[in-house]
C-alpha cells in the first residue's frame, strides 16, 4: 500500500497552530489535597484548547528547589485519565514535574464530548478537518504550552511519554527534548489495521468493513496524521518502544518511522514482559536526564534488578 504525504500537510497543521494561537489558555489551577504527598503537590488544571474546548489535567510538582525535569503524559486512547500511569512508582513525583492531560472525550475532559472506547478512533472520520484527532492533538500541544509557563519546569529536560501523540507533540513543538513513544495506531494506519482484529487498530478495520467504499478517502484523511510525515520534524532524542518481532509495530515496521526522525533514536523491541520493557524505559530516561550514575526510581518489585 503506497502512502503519500499530502500536499496540504503543512498548511493543515499551520491552521491548527493558528487556531490555538487565537484562543487564550485561560488556566485555572486548584490544589488537590487528596493526591498530594510528602514529596509532591498535586494540582488540577483546566485550560482551553481549540473549539474552544475546556480540558482537565493533573500537574504534580516536587517539593523543594526546582526547576525540575518534566514528564508530560500525553492523551491516550482510553477513557481513564491518570495522575501518573498505573504501576509507575509514586516516588517519581519527587524527582520530576509530571503533567498528565485528558484529551477531549477522556474522563475529566468529557463535556460536551464523551468518547467511547472503542469508538473514539473513528469519530469524525468524514474529513481531516472533522476527525477527532485534529482536536486531540491540539489538546496535547495546548497542554505543553501551559506546561512551559510553569517556572518549576526545567526547559532543557522535557519528555513526552505515551503512544503516537508523544511523537506528534515533539514534531509540532521544539521545546520537547525527549520522546518515549509506543506507536499504536497512527503509523501507516490502514495498512496495518487491515492485518489485525485486535484493538485499537481494529477500530479502523471495523469501520472499513462497514464502509468499504470509503477506504481511499480514509487513507487520505489519516495520511494527515501519519507519524511517517510528522517524524521529519522531530529533533528530540527518541525512544521507540516496538512490539515484538512478530507484532504489528515490530522494529522492522517501525524502521520507516525511526529513519524519518531527525533526532537520535533508540528502538527497544518488546521483550514480552511489562517489567523488562518498563524498566528499560525508566532507565533510558533517567540516564538521558541525569547521567549514568543516577538510579531510576522504580516500583518495589523491580528494585533488585537495578
Amino acid at each position: 500500500m503506497t502512502v503519500i504525504k499530502p500536499a496540504e500537510f503543512d498548511s493543515f497543521w499551520d491552521d491548527v497552530d493558528n487556531d490555538l494561537a487565537s484562543i487564550s489558555i485561560a488556566p485555572e489551577v486548584e490544589y488537590v489535597q487528596l493526591r498530594s504527598t510528602d514529596d509532591a503537590d498535586l494540582y488540577g488544571v483546566r485550560i482551553t484548547s481549540i473549539g474552544p474546548y475546556r480540558l482537565f489535567a493533573y500537574l504534580s510538582i516536587p517539593r523543594g528547589e526546582g526547576p525540575f525535569p518534566a514528564i508530560y503524559y500525553v492523551p491516550k486512547n482510553g477513557s481513564v485519565h491518570e495522575v501518573i500511569p498505573q504501576g509507575t512508582a509514586i516516588g517519581i513525583r519527587s524527582r520530576y514535574v509530571t503533567f498528565s492531560i485528558a484529551g477531549r472525550g477522556m474522563r475529566g475532559s468529557d463535556k460536551p464530548y464523551t468518547a467511547m472506547y472503542p469508538g473514539q478512533l473513528t469519530d469524525g472520520l468524514e474529513s481531516a478537518d472533522t476527525y477527532v484527532y485534529r482536536g486531540i492533538i491540539a489538546d496535547a500541544i495546548r497542554g505543553l504550552e501551559y506546561l512551559m509557563t510553569r517556572p518549576e519546569v526545567d526547559s532543557t529536560r522535557i519528555v513526552t511519554w505515551g503512544n503516537d501523540i508523544a511523537v506528534m507533540v515533539a514534531a509540532r513543538r521544539s521545546e520537547i527534548t525527549h520522546v518515549v513513544s509506543t506507536p499504536a495506531y497512527l503509523f501507516d494506519t490502514v495498512e496495518h489495521a487491515l492485518k489485525t482484529s485486535s484493538y485499537p487498530l481494529a477500530e479502523y478495520s471495523d469501520y472499513l468493513r462497514l464502509y468499504p467504499d470509503r477506504k481511499n478517502e480514509v487513507i487520505s484523511i489519516l495520511s494527515m496524521y501519519n507519524l511517517r510525515w510528522h517524524a521529519q520534524a522531530v529533533r528530540a532524542e527518541t525512544l521507540l518502544r516496538a512490539d515484538h518481532s512478530n507484532g504489528i509495530y515490530s522494529p522492522e515496521v517501525l524502521a520507516g518511522l525511526e529513519n524519518g526522525i531527525a533526532g537520535d533514536v533508540t528502538v527497544h523491541e518488546s521483550e514480552r514482559s511489562s517489567f523488562k520493557d518498563g524498566l528499560f524505559a525508566e532507565k533510558w530516561i533517567t540516564e538521558k536526564f541525569f547521567g549514568p550514575d543516577v538510579k531510576a526510581i522504580v516500583p518495589e518489585h523491580w528494585r533488585s534488578t537495578l
Partner: protein, 308 residues
Amino acid sequence: MKVDRNYRCKVVKPDDFDEFWDGVLRDVNAIDLDSTMEKDDLRSNDEVDVYQVYYNSLDHVRISAWYSVPKGATGNLPAMIQLPGYQSDPPIAREWAAKGYACISVNPRGKVRSRTQFDPGYPGLLTYGIVDKNSYSYRGFYVDAWRAVDFLLGRPEVDGANIGAVGGSQGGGLAITISAMRKEVKAVSISAPYLCGYMDAIELTHAYPFHEINDYLHTYPERREDIENTVAYFDGISFADKIECAVILNVGLQDNVVPPETGYAVFDVIASSNKKLYKYDGHGHDAGKYVHGAIIDKFFEAELKGGK
C-alpha cells in the same frame, strides 16, 4: 525485592461475611434482570456477531456489556465471562467467540457505557464510600459482574453447565468473587489478581491504583480502622474459601501493580482441590501473558469443552 512464597495477608474474614453478602444478593435478586440485546454491525465480523447488552443490577443501575458469539451458532455453546481491569476499558472479546465460546464482557458500574448512574472516576473508584461496607463502590461493582451469569443462563445458545470466567488484574479479582459466589461457574482463570490483601498491598507496593488508599489515609488517617473493616468484606482472600471449581492462577514476580505476595496468599486459601499456580519470573503485571495465554486456552478447552 525477594518475593515470599509463604506470605500471609493480615485480612481477617468477618464473622458476618456470608450474612452481609446474602443480604446484598437478596436485594439484587428482587430486581428484574430486564436484559436487552442489540446487534452491533460495526463490531461484528465474518466470524463473530457482536451485541450491545444492557441489564439491571443492584440499586437499579443499568449495566452494559459486550456479547460475542460465533456467527451462525444455534445452541450448546460453552460460555465465558470476561472481566475488566481497573483503568482499562472493557474489551470486545471477539477472540473468545472465534474459539467457539459465547462470551460476555462486562462493564460494571462506572465503566464506559455504564457511567450514567454511578461514576466515582479513576482515580476514585477504589476508595469511593470506603468507610462503610454498605456504601463501598465494590458492593455494586461486584454484583454487576456476577449478574453476567444470569444473562448467560437466559441465552438459548448457551450451555449453562459449561460457564467459565477469566480476567486479569481487577478482572482477576472479579474472577475470584464470581467463582466464589456463583456456583454455575465451572472453571476460572485468574491473572495477577487485584483486590486481594488490600492492606498488605498498600505497603508492599507504592503505585496506583492501590496507592489510592494511601492517598486517602494520608488525608484521613483517623479512618484507617473503618477502611480495614470495610475491605475485609471485599477482599478476594475472604471469598477464596468458597471457590470449588477448577482454578488456574498466574502471577508475575516483578508485578509493579499487584504484589505477587497477595496472589500467593489468595491462591493458598482457594478451597478447590483442582487448582494450579503459575509464577513467572522476569514478568510484571503482564504475569507472563504471552506464554500463559496458551495455558488458559487449553485449560478452558479441557474444563468446558471436555478436551475437544
